[in-house]
Symmetry: D2
Amino acid sequence: MIIQIDKNIDLNKQVEIVDKLTNKGFKITPVKTQKGNYLIGTGKGKIDLRTIGNMEGILDIHKVSDDYKLVSKKWKVGATAIDLGDGISISGGGGFAMMAGPCSIETEEQIIKTINHLKENDIQIMRGGVYKPRSSPYAFRGLGIDGLKLWYDLAKEAGIKIITEVMQVSQIEEMYDYVDVYQVGARNTQNFNLLDELGKVDKPVMIKRGISGTIDELLYSAEYVFSAGNENIILCERGIRTYERASRNTLDLNAIPILKEKTHLPVVADPSHGIGIRQHVDTMALASIMAGADGVIYETHETPEKAYSDGQQTLDFSESEQLIKKMRKTVALRDELAVGKL
Amino acid sequence: MIIQIDKNIDLNKQVEIVDKLTNKGFKITPVKTQKGNYLIGTGKGKIDLRTIGNMEGILDIHKVSDDYKLVSKKWKVGATAIDLGDGISISGGGGFAMMAGPCSIETEEQIIKTINHLKENDIQIMRGGVYKPRSSPYAFRGLGIDGLKLWYDLAKEAGIKIITEVMQVSQIEEMYDYVDVYQVGARNTQNFNLLDELGKVDKPVMIKRGISGTIDELLYSAEYVFSAGNENIILCERGIRTYERASRNTLDLNAIPILKEKTHLPVVADPSHGIGIRQHVDTMALASIMAGADGVIYETHETPEKAYSDGQQTLDFSESEQLIKKMRKTVALRDELAVGKL
Amino acid sequence: MIIQIDKNIDLNKQVEIVDKLTNKGFKITPVKTQKGNYLIGTGKGKIDLRTIGNMEGILDIHKVSDDYKLVSKKWKVGATAIDLGDGISISGGGGFAMMAGPCSIETEEQIIKTINHLKENDIQIMRGGVYKPRSSPYAFRGLGIDGLKLWYDLAKEAGIKIITEVMQVSQIEEMYDYVDVYQVGARNTQNFNLLDELGKVDKPVMIKRGISGTIDELLYSAEYVFSAGNENIILCERGIRTYERASRNTLDLNAIPILKEKTHLPVVADPSHGIGIRQHVDTMALASIMAGADGVIYETHETPEKAYSDGQQTLDFSESEQLIKKMRKTVALRDELAVGKL
Amino acid sequence: MIIQIDKNIDLNKQVEIVDKLTNKGFKITPVKTQKGNYLIGTGKGKIDLRTIGNMEGILDIHKVSDDYKLVSKKWKVGATAIDLGDGISISGGGGFAMMAGPCSIETEEQIIKTINHLKENDIQIMRGGVYKPRSSPYAFRGLGIDGLKLWYDLAKEAGIKIITEVMQVSQIEEMYDYVDVYQVGARNTQNFNLLDELGKVDKPVMIKRGISGTIDELLYSAEYVFSAGNENIILCERGIRTYERASRNTLDLNAIPILKEKTHLPVVADPSHGIGIRQHVDTMALASIMAGADGVIYETHETPEKAYSDGQQTLDFSESEQLIKKMRKTVALRDELAVGKL
């Protein structure tokens, strides 16, 4: 059960509501986000909603039978749009967000060339890594905060928003002034402390599905961020680990219509990691669109063969440009066909 | 290595070629299909192709480094079209084949209604099961050969081709006069005797990917049929078994561009089994098209809730009609964009 | 529900029972095995067992809530022993069956040497393949029926029982006189026609778990054989397909106590395929014993490095001898500790 | 390549060595642990070891072809023993460590009863969670640091060592005075920052295998801790995520002999999470012993049905006592048989 309460509710009134529900067998967790105040009721309690629906200070109330609550479409039927400022947004209910850039931020020249490529193609969000999770401690781990500052300044000047991975709690504050969207990587989808702390900032968070994470676990991870105070969440399907070795991961496009049915949050796809094979990234990006994705995030680099990482799944600028044109036409057809909206 | 030889080659000449190659370390398997005669060389042999290329009776010769040979695109660069007669075909190189019908053939009335639905929507191939593989021995196992005869007669009269599952060697001959395409189900993908025997008939065979089969295993299974004499093979991605429980299977659309790169055979998708959720079948069918599928096979029934099996993933005729229209527009866009053809 | 009926029941009495149950909403499948006659009731019927329990011709009656029936421990509490003749058996309730031999039967000399190795170590059952399921059609497919005859004659003379894989229905009769236990391989676990036909013979059948088969699917496959008339079934855990690449398969030893809880049939382990690494086969064999296996089946060859197949997971005779000694001591300890019997 | 250097090496000498190797194409990472100073050479460099082997300050030098280095058995052939003080240790080379206790630390009474149970059975290490990773943000997350302090004091008084999960970097210091072994949970196996920071403390760390982690990834995670300065690492197999639903996880006992072959670190098994079914935990614990585990960690509680979490896989004290006795006998047999030591 979710009860939205007035932000200015009298504290005694709130206590009265909580007591009433607790007596009926609910465990109540109060949640306060940028957008609203809520009481989340879990457990095996039972109550006739009419007996509390008209209590003072209650704005809205819904039963939500899912184990995740605030991210459920049973709570909020309409799609959520994540506002990045300057008229740029990622929405669960229309439009299509393209995010492109290198696996790793490498040099000033690389950043500038990528920004130019995006500007020429009207792309407004750039991806890139400055903290790289690597299986081996001896591999390149990214340029760190200095790389981020350099990148952010150049992007801001160009009117480009940036999305980049945050790997640990201590980086959240450090990165805050230099990031438009925090990305939680597939190895951190269930790093619950990181999620809790990202709930306390007011910048959007994109959560990638875990390496072998279920769809429900992804929704729970979003619930962590939301219930800790941050409603601005984007979900990302990036492929799961299976026995198949012909592709890097198994891009689970089933997850897109299923997630869109379960949650009001926007859902994007990452075809670069999803298939891991450069010549097929475009095909899977277009397939993701027809599957209903609200956006894509993919890797591009001026010279993929020289990239510090992930070159085998990175498009060059010419391939990227072709893909962008095809994506726009595919999105147009999808909108015309109203795919996934019946 | 594959050597195509003249169908009328002098036997002594053929022995001479085989001896030469055997002496060079190859193991030679002779293959005779509807369309040609071949010598397949496997093992660690080495030879300068020029020393045999101009021997009498040799039409063509190629090195094929893949472990599968005759189904490889390294052998045959152009796409293969499978001719079902009466101008109907399933092609790896253009067009788009739609196959629809119930999970199980149930009654004459059901067959007629489905045929009418297909005719009204210009669909030329009907799917349906008369032999049903079921986990439990106590479940409905299909109408059998009598159901097949009834169905085939009605379909033939209407100008509709039929595709249906064959479960064992003894059924091949029994079914022969009443089937246009034999389907090998996901539990039989590695039933090698069945594949061998299907190589001896001259009707097309559609092989579904195994329940947890790899892409390479699917190609090997096709190689069984081809090397036993039957070149008319269609491959089908129908979802694989993973840990995810929110969908019946995990439709692996990555497999489509990867298969299209590796083989000249047509590749179709089965979104019904691939996701297993009725309201998302259409979305996944459209995604399959953008992923490059040469066709789809999906389940439709006048009243899915009354179907003997698979009702939860079956479209009613109205949903099917909507889907067909959307698929045609999506195929048109895909052709315009030349997806997967660069 | 399972009703055991008198073999000599008056047919009218049987019809009366079936009618009564059908009227109560059950679907009744009659089953006749070597050992008894049964009526299997499935579906949503409900009945007070006392109202039929004392009808003439009914020997025993039990509710079995599992979807598999005759193989369930809810039907038959005591363990089943599979009698191979000459005092040799594989039992779910005591003793420990060791089956060893090469992956493929290769030559007379190889057979004789293996038999001698088994005799010296008091092993009574020899494994080996004459029909080999191979991913590639160009690989060695076994010596076939002639190899089987040779092998069987030599084994019989030595008092050794043999177990070997049957790949298709037509082989069942052909092999019948030359086999003590039919083995159903992991690619055929859900080859339902093969299972049905094996239900019609009176020789024991060992069913391997499917390549990515569930525990329940294995029990269903056994139910196929049982309900078709053959009660003599052995189950085999041989590893499942997962994402892990450091071993050939993932030996799922959890499956052993779980199967032993669910079924009265004996359960053996195949550590050779289960790990696929020669130097660790012995360790996994011993672990299987402590997990509760009723037997093991493993690969041994005089010179594994020269074996036609599976050499990388095959023990030489000296390693095999060491393992046998260790297994005997481990079984002795397991019996002393009464593992899995509390 | 790993070069162990003298702790008191002249800095100029060290620079000289690094320069020489860098010139030969190696990337050098210096590592300083509690026990030694090392230079780790990665990349494609080549050098004749004899040309540097006798340089001043070099104690030992080995080529290690694995991608993980310091944890490899190619570097250190002998097994590592992790000393917990007071004569208690967990060793890769003998003995057998038993760790038992509740899933969650709940109350003082619960702690005392568990300690008494352990003391009565001569168990020296107690497990328990005070920070609980939970999929849902609304579930019980543990007693936190206050619970840890209470527990540690009681355990210390009783001469019992404790192992408990650390979930984030900020907890490391906070927990330091109240913990004997830090545990890294399955969701944090690739939380690289956490691993890095645990490399900076001098208390032992037990790393659980990731939820769908490979064996190699587990070794890499250990390499993170080691290369950051902490050699005291224990690895734990706790089951992986597969499609099988009859057990909570699939305990991969193959991993134990494979890990023992690859690394000198001790490897323990967690049968409680590995199968997740109370009545089979003992069987899988014994199987783990025969598979070569250096210890087990399992859940026990006075009244499992009342436990805050994981009751379905928790043994009561009577079951635990029985298991301990059986484990001791099984370890004795294993030692006698020298399993995995040939």
